[in-house]
């Protein structure tokens, strides 16, 4: 009996801690967002973050989506050949890339690249008292440090995904034409034929949400890190892991929102 109660109490504590974290993250994000829309703004810092997230992530995102598009063409071809539907390859590639693979892979890659970097940088600033120093120099750290990162994440991920979509579809095209022997103009026609604006738009909206989540997790874990190098290391790991999990969870619900009838 005692053991059972103990066990239940432990589950209860974990559950309460989980709810507390959700509450804290929600309050935190509310505060950062409110600072995003109130002056003073820091265009210079926003620009720097945009370059960091948008431009320097291009190679990673490009490579991932390129090979995803390629493997998708190959897989769908071997699969669809079983019921003589090879003609659908181009359509499958473009729809999968724009709706799912583009945003999810870009989100995960940026979570690893940017979420980690943000948590490490902000965490180091926290434990070396640089964030306290901002406060004494009449600068609000939410506005100066966090808001630019959130804005950049929110706006740059759709851009990355758009580029990634094009590269991914191109990867599929290369495999389709040079390996599977499709007629080039046929393949291109098939790509456009069944593509709907919502396919692309839903992917870009997802990207924006994922960008927000990555920046939010990087900022949250960095800003709240404690206790020296070890704390910063933990913050970095937590930022990447939590951002990746949130991306996959939100991906499901956004898909349901857009496409479930």
């Amino acid at each position: 009996m005692g053991k059972l109660l103990d066990f239940l109490a432990r589950i209860g504590r974990v559950f309460i801690a989980f709810l507390q974290t959700i509450g804290r993250v929600t309050i935190f994000s509310g505060r950062v967002v409110s600072h995003c829309v109130r002056p003073p703004f820091y265009p210079r810092l926003i620009g720097r973050q945009m370059v960091e997230i948008g431009y320097y992530s291009l190679p990673v995102v490009g490579l991932t989506t390129f090979f995803s598009g390629m493997v998708l063409a190959l897989q769908s071809h071997t699969g669809f050949a079983r019921f003589s539907a090879e003609g659908a390859v181009a359509t499958v590639v473009v729809i999968s890339v724009t709706r799912e693979l583009g945003p999810v892979f870009a989100g995960l890659m940026v979570a690893g690249r940017i979420g980690a970097a943000m948590a490490a940088e902000i965490g180091t600033m926290r434990v070396t008292e640089q964030i306290d120093a901002l406060g004494t120099l009449s600068t609000n750290p939410y506005k100066y440090l966090l808001a630019p990162r959130l804005i950049a994440g929110l706006t740059m991920l759709p851009f990355l995904v758009l580029v990634g979509d094009i590269i991914g579809v191109f990867g599929g095209y290369l495999v389709g034409v040079y390996k599977l022997g499709f007629n080039p103009s046929n393949y291109i026609n098939r790509t456009w034929e069944y593509l709907e604006p919502l396919d692309v738009i839903s992917g870009l909206v997802k990207a924006s949400v994922f960008g927000f989540l990555v920046s939010l997790m990087g900022c949250y874990h960095g800003y709240n890190s404690r206790g020296g190098a070890q704390g910063v290391g933990a913050a970095t790991t937590n930022a990447v892991v939590s951002a990746s999990i949130l991306i996959l969870i939100f991906n499901y619900f956004l898909t349901e929102l857009f496409f479930a009838k």
Binding site: E129, Q130, D132, A133, G135, T136, S138, T139
Partner: protein, 258 residues
Amino acid sequence: MNTVVPKIELTGVSKAFGKKVVLDGLDLAIAPAESVVVIGGSGTGKSVMLKCILGLLEADAGSIRIDGGEILGIGSRERERINRRIGMLFQGSALFDSLPVWENVSFGLIQGHNMDRSTARATALEKMAQVGLSPDVADLSPAELSGGMQKRVALARAIATNPEIIFFDEPTTGLDPIMADVINDLIVKTVKQMGATALSITHDMVSARKIADRIAMLYHGKLIWVGPAAEVYSSGNPYVDQFVHGRAEGPIKMEVRL
């Protein structure tokens, strides 16, 4: 003394982290243009005291007044206005490693006082000269400087906006005796020049004697002794005696278990 409104006045300030009581009803009044040094062992809450005044930590109880006005529990806008009048030298310098030296020094001018960048740079070079830094280091990153140089940059940053109040948190810790003395001289010189009110923290007695008009000792969350700097070696207080002479035996028991 009694007729003058203290520049900074702490009354019954308490701060605990969970069950751990760090400040326990601390009282301290600092007159305008006075330089007070607080001494005390590591981990006694000296930095916490400064952070409470700066609003980086929220004191649990008591009153903190600047020029007679209560600042405990004020809003963030009001807090920014108060902090604009305060300069702070952090224990670990806390320089922004993403910015070059001159932007570190002029940070408060550009952000808090909306100075344009070229004027701010000129002012930064001027302040750097005041603490003995040549213009060559202006464009270096703080990480490229030695500890002593970083302290000087931090000092220049703390005084850049000509604050009325300056806090120095262990300005000489971790420096060699000569560099420590250079920093002490710089502190005395700049504080006197600006007519600022200074509150410093240290456990370096040489430094304390040099900077302070008055010395206070923090122990178990309270100031157990306050007196003129010259009397610190003849205070008659056994705690102070033990501390200033650095004796292991005495009423202060080192709390090994923190």
